[in-house]
Amino acid sequence: MSANLMHDIEEVATDGLLKAVDSLLLDGWRLIQILALSSESGNEINYSFGGGYAMKTLRVKLGPKDPVPSITSYYAAAAFYENEMRDLFGIRIERIHPDWHGDLLGGAKPKPFSRVRIAGTSVERPVPLNAPATSVSQSGSEGAAAPGGEGGSK
């Protein structure tokens, strides 16, 4: 980490997230971003908070289908990040308020950024725009993959 970035990263368990967020809120930190990452083994969410020019990040690691509680009851601005994260990665976020039900980004392709691999299914890869329509359902090589990646789990 460069010297001019005062930044702490702390890994927390999913069930300890809200307590940690509550503590940061009481200490006067504000939410500056929520960042999601997806890999074949699951998702990771980084909640970054700013206090002056310092930054603190809470890191939560999730299994492929694990939900995460929404922090919108603590930080109203989290709704935009959480709706975006749900739309792009398909991460299950419980009790988002307001929940725009996929309307914030509203893409034609569900969870395009997801890389989660569910046992017995393939990972859906990006399909070229000019590909024949049938190739969408035939993407991947390890069995039937439904659009959305995990939809075809057995």
Binding site: S2, I32, L35, M55, Y75, A76, A77, F80
Partner: protein, 366 residues
């Protein structure tokens, strides 16, 4: 009128956008109104989502700087620089001094031309065509300077991981700084018209007020935050050459549309002054170091763009293609505060409120 035929009075929901005369980019709101007053606004983006973040998985991490620049056509250099800084943070690279100063030079050029562009768009939205033409004419000089020093008017293409790839000589920089004196004089004249003109003041003063506490709590950044009285500017962290330059943070306290306009107008002056200072004091030496490392780990960077703080994140796993690149752009951070500023405003003021956050939907959607 009988009870049975009387129209039911209550909130009305109307669509605003995605195409609208004052919006250069698509942004949609479902506005809930009681009479003419807004009680709720639900934003919708996604019309121009390009998935540029995901493209990092396909490109060599050194080449990706060119893609990162294309996140936005207005603050392109800063996006390329922010990405480079995050990668440099991951690799533990220190860029040469002259490269840091040149980056600062181009950053401030970009801030000045972005604010001038916004000023012109705002004037155009009020129907003030002359002011629109005059601000864009002044901006043209800045674009010419960018072309002469960086090689591009919109996409500079001059920032690389490890430094910069252009090295304009000191004489060129000084001559450009002298040329920019004309812009400073013109901006001073235009600012007087913009801030003093009764029709402009009527549209901006007291409209879309955002309080200091709300602005901070909702994560507002940049001129949106500073216009609400919060002295917060990421340049204070001292990245690039800012730790060696003296500059003042422009802060206003009214929190309305006029305050946001005033912050930008005064920042143009401050940015052009910084450009002149960099041209005078820039140290000599190399402008880049060779970068051959295979990336591994993660890096972060925070940059003050014209619209506010942008936050960059990269992660790699020992391959030349990164696993993840993420940029939290300032417009995305300002949307919650903008929605808050709309509450209680008149429908006719919505375009002005949206404009004064200087939205960049291209950045927001990446």
């Amino acid at each position: 009128m009988s009870e049975a035929t009387r129209p039911v009075r209550g909130p009305t929901t109307i669509p605003f956008g995605p195409q609208h005369p004052v919006l250069p980019e698509p942004l949609h709101f479902d506005l809930t109104l009681e009479d003419e007053r807004i009680v709720d606004a639900v934003p919708q983006i996604g019309y121009i989502h390009r998935g540029l973040e995901m493209l990092v998985e396909k490109r060599d991490y050194l080449d990706y700087t060119r893609v990162a620049e294309r996140v936005c056509g207005i603050c392109s250099f800063m996006h390329g620089m922010g990405y480079s800084m995050a990668v440099e943070d991951m690799l533990g690279i220190e860029v040469p001094d002259r490269a840091r100063w040149l980056r600062t030079f181009w950053c401030e050029l970009e801030r000045a031309h972005s604010h001038l562009m916004w000023l012109g768009l705002a004037a155009d939205a009020f129907g003030f065509e002359n002011l629109f033409m005059a601000t864009w004419r002044a901006r043209e000089i800045i674009l010419d300077v960018a072309e002469e020093t960086a090689g591009g008017r919109v996409i500079y293409g001059s920032c690389n991981v490890g430094g910069v790839n252009r090295d304009p000589d000191d004489e060129t920089l000084k001559r450009c700084a002298k040329e920019l004196e004309k812009v400073r004089a013109e901006v001073a004249r235009l600012a007087e018209v913009f801030v003093g003109e009764p029709t402009v003041r009527h549209r901006l003063e007291g409209v879309g007020i955002l309080g200091k506490d709300k602005a901070y709590a909702l994560g507002a950044v940049g001129p949106m935050l500073r216009a609400s009285g919060v002295d917060y500017d990421m340049r204070r962290t001292g990245y690039a050459a800012y730790s060696e330059l003296s500059f003042s943070t422009v802060v206003e306290t009214a929190g309305d549309c006029m305050a946001r306009a005033k912050v930008r107008i005064r920042e143009i002056e401050e940015s052009l002054r910084l450009v002149a200072e960099v041209a005078t004091r820039i140290p000599g030496g190399p402008v880049a170091i060779p970068v051959k490392a295979v990336p591994n780990g993660e890096g972060w960077a925070r940059v003050e763009q014209p619209r506010g703080e942008a936050l960059y994140f990269v992660r790699a796993a020992g391959k030349r293609n990164l696993e993840r690149f993420r940029v939290r752009t300032p417009t995305f951070a300002n949307i919650p505060a903008m929605v808050e500023a709309m509450h209680g405003a008149e429908l006719a003021d919505v375009p002005t409120i949206i404009l004064t956050i200087d939205p960049c939907i291209s950045c927001t959607e990446r």
